[in-house]
Symmetry: C2
Subunit: 222 residues, 2 copies
């Protein structure tokens, strides 16, 4: 979902950057999208990639795709050297405490904005609304400083705390619609992708938030 | 969700039966619906009701509403004596193993059909697709024996295994649409209900199943 939500919100996601995602799962999914031509991935910890190749081959298979170029290094430094390059940036990080905390800050969104082309889209792991809505709101406010359209979506992951995970998504396109936005790919093509989870209905459902969450995020949702 | 999914699928849910639901939570929600005039509840275990009143007052407050008539007894016996009476029957039971197993059988759906008025709707606790899809399919097949339209919906419940719960819903109206079906209540009225979770978008999202679930249930979904 962290891959297909932003990819299907973008009319032509030719060039994608993945920050983190060292297990290879996000890369495995992103390369499936027929409009994606190049995927660049910047992962700080080479050991994660090695261990995934060793123990999680069903995830790590993403690294084998010819669309993908993996770089080991710091995402912040990488983006400073890549301006106006990407259509979509996906950040697959750990939680917003400890080493990954900087990937949830306003300054990170500023950096992503500059690495994006016009109308680019970002999507990051965003935590569960059952656990800490204030963190989600803070991340969204940081995103909103640089992205005119911001939203929050959820999907079921039974092994995560509370059984789901959220995503903060931002777009530089001020007319972006995140719901009913699946485009350029008709249903026939979606069938051909043979995805296990994602459908256009699942895409839209991800943005249907419980009323109390919607009301709490009202000031940042648009 | 077990209350509002069937209530908002029915054009005029005047008279509702709740089977089980001894904590009072379903009754608390059902009575909020402005078109609901009478709610009858049949709970087999009086001790559950007593303990809820004692320890879960925020749930048990449902029993105080003047629309509600609570009967202690067996749901099967109760329905045998109430033919063509209800618009909606909600079964809020425990899991389909042990004492509640009979509430998931085809014979239970047959009994509910006879207790329902024309175009009546049933909704039951239906388990998680992450845990045992075969149970869900079996329950839906039992429902389909007597109800021309059957579907399965999900909602997030962080305290349940896998963080969500499903519902099996059936309608005697062969033209029933479960999605985009919220009717008779406009958005203004929904606002006035001051619900914490339910919105028309959350209603439709509940029926958006992951592709592998949708495909597994294809033969029973319609």
């Amino acid at each position: 979902m962290i891959s297909f939500l932003p990819l299907f919100c973008h009319p032509n996601p030719k060039k994608v950057l993945i920050v983190g995602g060292g297990d290879g799962g996000v890369a495995r999914e992103v390369v499936k999208h027929p409009l994606v031509e190049e995927v660049h991935q910047i992962e700080i910890d080479e050991r994660v990639v090695e261990l995934s190749k060793q123990h999680l081959p069903s995830m790590a298979c993403g690294f084998k795709n010819e669309k993908l170029k993996l770089t080991i290094g710091d995402g912040f430094e990488y983006m400073k050297n890549h301006k106006n390059e990407f259509d979509v940036i996906i950040t697959d990080s750990s939680d917003p405490i400890g080493p990954a905390v900087s990937l949830f800050n306003e300054s990170y969104y500023k950096l992503m904005k500059h690495a994006l082309k016009e109308d680019g889209i970002v999507c990051s792991q965003g935590g569960s609304f059952w656990l800490d809505l204030s963190y989600i709101k803070k991340t969204m406010l940081g995103c909103k400083e640089h992205f005119p359209k911001v939203s929050y979506a959820i999907t079921s992951v039974p092994s995560y705390p509370c059984g789901h995970i959220g995503f903060v998504i931002g777009s530089l396109n001020k007319n972006q619609k995140f719901v009913n936005s699946v485009n350029k790919i008709d249903n026939f093509d979606i069938e051909a992708l043979n995805l296990k989870y994602y459908t256009p209905e699942v895409h839209d459902a991800a943005f249907a938030l419980p009323r109390w969450v919607q009301q709490s995020l009202m000031s940042v949702l648009n």
